[in-house]
Symmetry: C2
């Protein structure tokens, strides 16, 4: 078992990464001083519930906690204000009080949704993350919680830190292959923005990671969380540095928004976004090898790097304009300088984005 401390002053919290953690949930609750007099709300989805819910409930009950469960439909569509209201109803009807913990048992969608419930219920109650996907290694660090607005992703939310993250890697063994690949996109991203050596390690261990080798996976997730925690602890509320974590996200979010949430997995969309960012850098003078290396790693993980023909250029641009990163009427982009290094650039022209959209569509015709 590895423990990683996310250093945020009085909002610091530990991430426990290892096998068998869900069946020890009750012990961890007690150790962290969570109230056993107040009901605990477990938020999960209908994919995860049959696999892992019983284990968590039993462990909590054995430690003296009463539980209320809310199962939401799996998928990005549950990150809506309607589902948010349903979870709030469950919390109220279940008698949750100000000392009650809200648990996110699931992937990024459940984490974002349950996290915003924890941040908002009675203006904030304790929050515990139990990620069950690879992608959630990313969303479980940093305290960004949110639901979507029909016009733009993650538009309604908060910065809200959990009490702890219990990352039981045993849960990853049941993931569908497409989700494994998409989840690894964020792992690769953490290498690309911060750590050339880790990027090389990812390239060399692609096969082990795709095969869910516990040792390789444990290392990669710890490393990914470490890089993210390192960046977040220096800039909790995204005033500067933290923006580098958005590599691939400006175009990625736009793709997710216009294709309809859920059509592309988040990791797939940001994979295309990272290819696009590398190509903008190349068009601005970086060596073409930057784009080739970036896309070669991503393709190694079976991730898409071309722009699907059916996605309309004007719609992509329009969706980008609604993105939170569109600050003071300027596009803010994270662009790679070399593998393991990025910069925050605020003078990217809309025309440059249009150009790479077209270029990445052409790439598709050659595949």
């Amino acid at each position: 078992m590895r423990t990683l401390q996310v250093d945020l002053g009085e909002r610091s919290y530990p991430i426990y990464i290892g096998g068998g953690l869900l069946s020890q949930a009750g012990d961890y609750f007690a150790r962290h001083g969570l109230s056993a007099k107040s009901p605990v709300l477990i938020v999960t989805d209908d994919n995860v519930a049959p696999l892992h819910l019983k284990q968590v409930e039993e462990s909590l009950r054995q430690a003296g906690y009463s539980t209320v469960v809310k199962i939401v439909p799996a998928g990005e569509k549950s990150k809506s204000l309607d589902v948010f209201e349903d979870v709030m109803t469950a919390a109220i009807e279940g008698g949750l009080d100000r000392k009650s913990a809200v648990v996110a048992l699931g992937g990024g969608v459940v984490g974002d949704l349950a996290g915003f419930v924890a941040a908002s219920y009675m203006r904030g109650v304790p929050f515990v993350q139990m990620p069950t996907t690879i992608l959630a290694h990313d969303s479980s660090v940093g305290g960004k919680v949110a639901v979507n607005h029909r016009l733009a992703k993650n538009m309604i939310g908060a910065f809200y830190q959990p009490e702890m993250v219990l990352y039981d890697v045993d849960t990853l063994q049941t993931l569908p292959e497409r989700e494994v690949r998409a989840g690894l996109a964020e792992v690769v991203k953490h290498g690309l923005i911060w750590d050339e050596a880790f990027t090389s390690w990812c390239r060399e261990h692609t096969a082990e990671l795709l095969a869910l080798d516990p040792e390789a996976l444990g290392y990669a997730l710890t490393k990914g969380c470490e890089i993210k925690a390192h960046v977040v602890s220096r800039d909790e509320r995204e005033n500067g540095l933290r923006a580098i974590l958005n590599l691939g996200h400006t175009i990625g979010h736009a793709i997710e928004a216009i294709a309809g949430y859920g059509e592309y997995l988040h990791g797939e969309a940001i994979s295309i976004g990272m290819a696009a960012a590398a190509l903008i850098s190349v068009n601005r003078g970086a060596d073409r090898s930057l784009y080739e290396e970036t896309t070669s790693i991503l393709r190694g993980f079976g991730l898409p790097t071309i722009m699907p023909e059916q996605l309309d250029e004007d719609k992509i641009i329009g969706a980008m304009m609604h993105d939170k990163k569109f600050k003071e009427q300027q596009l803010v982009f994270i662009l790679p300088k070399s593998i393991g290094k990025v910069e925050i650039v605020s003078d990217v022209k809309v025309e440059e984005v249009r150009r790479v959209i077209r270029e990445l569509k052409e790439e598709g015709q050659h595949v």
Copy 2:
């Protein structure tokens, strides 16, 4: 013009109280460094808009700010997730970015709604309060923002501090009499929890306050804000002391909830709640004069102190159980010890509450 500083470390902010402030809004924005490159969203209601909106918009425009306006229906019903979503839509469609300010121009409902929008839009943007009611002297201090859930009031929200509060007392001259009385209930409450001398002052100046005498009103609002700021700065997130501000609110919120939001004005409901709290104290051994004095002051302002016969006892108790103050399965009550002093009591029995509900219904039969 009086300036009051609410002392909350890096979240400290000033409250400006005086005449003619709305027409200087633009200057205050510039002075506080709010971005003129980013559109400002003004949230107001259909009562306030015809009276004060133009003034604010013009002042902001003259200082170089572009504005987006969202007018919501007046009344508690606008503190819903549905209206919250509508305001978010206006923010997105208006192109608000992370440096955009959200302005609450109106009373407590608009302040709570717009404040939760500011807290949640892109995970938090600058917030400016421009209260136009007496009641809002209370809600504009302390950073509590929220919308209602159909099962309980203020259930969904955040602690979120404004950049500044511009309290233009000229706006109070247009208030309907019933709102004036209800607003003064919170002024009286601040005296009752903290300051015997100020309570006496309120009793002696009842007529001037009800006549909206600018000098008396300016003094009372500053004093009310001061007491609240004093308490909040010692306990921002309501871990202890801050709870005393809830005098009259446990039963008051229950009355609002079961009568249907909007049937009773907030100040009317907490007036009954304060009478009930005083009577619980008397039933626990305090001198009956505590109840007599409390209700005599409130009645002086034309506020209700008896329990309306049509409000069902079981329903009041049921609604109280859903209240945030119902912590770890215990009722937490704020009870007066003497005029100007209260205590936080966690062992009030449901039976004691049932008794005062009945007693306050009987009082009604003698009036």
